[in-house]
Symmetry: C2
Subunit: 195 residues, 2 copies
Amino acid sequence: MPSPLRNGDLRSPAVVHHRQIPFQSTVSEQKLRRLNALILLLRFAAFCFSLAAAIFMASNSSRSQGSPSWLHFPSFRFVLAANSIVSIYCLFEMCASIWEILKGETLLPEPVQLWFDFSHDQVFAYMLLAAEATGTGVARDLHGHGACDAAGAFCVQAYISVALGFGGFAFLALSALLSGFRVACFVITGSRFHL
Amino acid sequence: MPSPLRNGDLRSPAVVHHRQIPFQSTVSEQKLRRLNALILLLRFAAFCFSLAAAIFMASNSSRSQGSPSWLHFPSFRFVLAANSIVSIYCLFEMCASIWEILKGETLLPEPVQLWFDFSHDQVFAYMLLAAEATGTGVARDLHGHGACDAAGAFCVQAYISVALGFGGFAFLALSALLSGFRVACFVITGSRFHL
C-alpha cells in the first residue's frame, strides 16, 4: 500500500497543472511588484538628487556685480539642462509607476512602456554622466585659475551641484540596469518577471 | 484510415521529445554563435576606434618649442588613459571570443565570464563617455581662447582624437547592451541564449 505522503504522485498531470499555475503566478506577481517598487525607489532618489543639483546650479548666479554666474559657462548650462530634464523624466516615471500600482496596468501598452523606460533610463544616464563630467572639468579649472579666491561661494555651490548630479546619475544607472532586466525578461519569456 | 501527413501525431511523446531537443539546441547554438559573432564585431570596432583615438592623442605633443602638448591638459591625459584601457580590454575580450570559437568553451567559467564581460563593458563605456565629455569641453575652450590660431594642428588632432573616442564609446555601449542581454538570458533561463 502506498504511503499517504506519496499519494500526491498519483494525481493526473492536469490536476498538478491547475494547482501550480496560480501559485507560480502569485510568486511572479509578488516579485514583479517588488522589482517595480525598487525601480520606483531608485527613480525617486534620482529625482531628488537631480532636482537638488538643478536648483543648486540655477541659484548659482551673481550675488554681487562682477562675480561669475553659471550662465557664463556653457558646461554649467549643460549641467543645469541635463539635471532639469532628468528630474522631469523621473517625475513622469514616478507618476506612471504609481498609476500602475493603483490601476494594476501600465500607462502605455506594456511593451511600449518597457522599451520606453529602459531606453530613456539608459540615454538619460549617459547624458547626465556627460554633463557632470564636463562640469567637473570646468569646476576644476575654476579652482586652478584662482577664480575661486574672489568668489568662493560660487565655486563651492558649483562643486555641490556637480556632486549631487553624480548621485543622480548613479541611481539612474541602477534603475536602467533593472529596467533593462525587465525588458530582457519580456523579450525572452513574454512576461515582465519570471525567475 | 489516417492520412500519411498525420502519421507524425501518432508518435509517442518520448519520440517527439527525442526528436525535438537536438533541433532546438542546434537553433539555440546557431543563434548564440551569431550573437557572439556580433559582439566580437562590435568589440573589434570599439578596439579600432579607441586605439586610433589613443594614438592620435599620444602623438599630439609639441612639434616646436612653446606649442602645447596633451601632457599639459589633465582632461586630455584622461582621454588618452581611458582610450588605452578600453583598447587593451577590447583586445583581451577579442582573444577570449576567438578562444571560445576555437575551443567551444569560455576562457573563464561561464557565469564568471558573462558577468565579467557585461560589468566591464558597462563600466568602461561610462568611463570612456566621461573622458570624451571632459575632452570635448577642453577642446571647445581651446578654440574659444584662440589657442588654436597659434597651434592649429594641435587643435585639429585633439578634435579627431575626441571624435574617434566617441565612436569607440558608441560601439562599446552597443556591446554592453548585447552582453547584458546574454547575462539576463543566463539569469532567467540558465543558458546563455534562449528565444
